[in-house]
């Protein structure tokens, strides 16, 4: 990769809090203009990585580069990076206008220019005319937009978002996802987005880094992460996953390695379904049926041991049986190509 295209680079970075390795020898690069998600459960090190980029934390080991420049020891206020905080961190004693103008005021820009640019920013986040209000007079979603306007007004090269939608309700969250993505495209700024919500990470980002125990377990496009999980953790954390241990795989004639398979890739058929080239099948009994409207989710206990989840779309009934019920015998069939071998103990 050409270094001029790299917005952020982690080079063997660790951050220790006492004995705890919050971030453990992490290396990766974020390309300029990319929407990059850091996904992982709480305590996985993703937020610490974000804070390392912002400059609130400094690496214990390794270096961090912004636009090719080593910033490991540069304070936050000298980095061309801005943050949208999880609790928004709007200054309660300032109006919305003053909040958005803050970075320009610090840079001592003339008042007229500050006002003009703040107006543009409030326009961008669809809050025109809200300038005179105090943060306390805004709803959660509005505060979120003000925080975004304030972080963008200084034209940072990288925008960091720390679970920015966590406090919003579902409807608003979905709206904001679309809007954030649109703003990112419009401005062409690199977004680094921390979340524990896999749906958010998959739907919005160009690339996703999955964090676990302070390490990046896998880094790739959403499709790669979803379709080719390299570790059991990634397979389990992103989407619903079926993990078949090596012993079971061997018993059903699917080779001698453990593998994972997505539930929507499994075809559920009557026990009489004939075997076919390139397919694998396993017999079992339906243990439970969960109806979700658009889909139905079945839990099937295999005769060979272990369980598989199967998801069927309720789009049409074209030749298939409309529904199965618990206790029925079924034969599960899938393409061998859908199996994803899992590497045990994979490291990045």
């Amino acid at each position: 990769m050409d270094s001029s295209d790299v917005a952020v680079r982690f080079d063997g970075v660790s951050r220790l809090f006492g004995e705890v390795r919050a971030v453990d020898r992490v290396s990766f690069s974020v390309t300029d203009g990319e929407f990059f998600a850091m996904l992982g459960p709480s305590g996985s090190g993703k937020t610490t990585c974000l804070r390392l980029v912002a400059g609130f934390e400094h690496p214990t080991e390794g270096r961090i580069f912004l636009s090719g420049k080593d910033v490991s020891d540069v304070p936050p206020y000298e980095r061309n990076v801005n943050t949208v905080f999880q609790d928004y961190a709007l200054f309660p004693h300032m109006s919305v206008q003053e909040n958005v103008e803050y970075p320009l005021m610090i840079r001592k820009l003339p008042a007229a220019e500050r006002r003009r640019r703040a107006g543009e920013m409030l326009e961008l986040v669809r809050l025109p005319g809200f300038g005179a209000r105090k943060p306390a007079q805004l709803s959660g979603g509005q505060r979120q937009r003000v925080a975004l306007a304030r972080a963008l007004i200084g034209q940072p090269r990288v925008l960091l978002l720390d679970e920015p939608l966590g406090a919003l309700d579902l409807k608003l969250r979905e709206e904001m996802q679309v809007e954030l993505k649109a703003i990112q495209r419009q401005l062409g700024i690199t977004f680094i987005y921390v979340t524990h919500d896999q749906g958010e990470a998959l739907s919005m980002s160009d690339r996703v880094a999955v964090f676990n125990h302070g390490r990046v377990e896998q880094l790739g496009t959403p499709a790669e992460i979803y379709d080719h999980p390299r570790t059991a953790f990634v397979a389990g954390f992103v989407g619903i996953s079926n993990l078949l241990p090596a012993a079971v795989a061997e018993r059903i004639g699917a080779g001698s390695r453990s593998f994972s398979i997505r539930p929507e890739r499994i075809h559920m058929a009557a026990p009489t379904e004939p075997a076919a080239e390139g397919r694998c099948s396993a017999d079992g009994t339906i243990r439970s049926v969960l109806y979700y409207g658009a889909q139905t989710r079945y839990l099937v206990g295999l005769d060979a041991g272990s369980e598989l989840t199967v998801v069927t779309q309720n789009s049409d009934a074209s030749g298939l049986r409309a529904a199965w019920s618990a206790g029925e015998r079924v034969r599960l069939v899938w393409l061998r190509a859908s199996e994803r071998p899992i590497e045990e103990g994979v490291e990045t």
Binding site: A54, G55, F56, P75, P76, Y77, V81, N82, T83, F85, Q86, D87, A89, L90, F91, P92, H93, Y102, P103, M105, I106, R107, R150, A151, G154
Partner: protein
Amino acid sequence: MPFERRRHRGKPEGGTRPGLALRLAALGGILFLHLPLLFIVLYAFSAEDKSFVFPPPALTTRWFAVALEREDVRAALLLSLQVASVATVLALFLGTMAAAAVWRSSFFGREAISLLVILPIALPGIITGIALRSALNLGGLPFSFWTIVIGHATFCIVVVYNNALARLRRTSPSLIEASMDLGANGFQTFRHVIFPQLATALLAGGMLAFALSFDEVIVTTFTAGQQATLPIWMLNELVRPRQRPVTNVVAVFVIAITLVPILLAFYLTRHGQDAAGSGR
């Protein structure tokens, strides 16, 4: 030591009513606290100047004029105001610094700092007073305006410290990070974010410190030489009464001058749980 002022919780009772005995006892308690001060105000207008006879035979306002003409009263009043002002300014600086240090970092001995700040009001005033006095004697330092100020600032620090720390603890640390993230260095962040957050708490703390200092007598008796603050002047009058009517008027002055800052401090901290009642 510090009491926190608590938010009003819940609604007052609709159904139950307090029993008569409880109402009388509560009313009695509050009256016990405030009636004596009303008597002072009453006596300040008494025309009788030789004894504390009740009820006063006649009322007059002439003692106010007499008191204001008195050179010794004016000197004492001026000294008290000066001492309280300087002690408050010192306490504001020292108390805020200590609060900021304790808030931002978790360093070894943090608990010890809190204890050290509270000690001057936790120990009886006489201990603080005699300790300072004997230290001054040992050091061969003469009593002066500044020795009074040293004593007062020492026990005023805690008031500012408590108010500042309570406010800082309610301030989200992400505000400071946000400010730095947006390009402000440490000083700019202090000026534009931390200080505006702290301002009313510091004002409240300063007001209480002023009231505390203006009113102080125990430590002052040990650290003042020939100079008399207003409370010292009053104490002298109490031990050897010479001018009862003037004393009554001075007492009213002291009540008025300490009441204003306390009410103001109470008003400034009314929304939070800042320590408007941080012990003394």
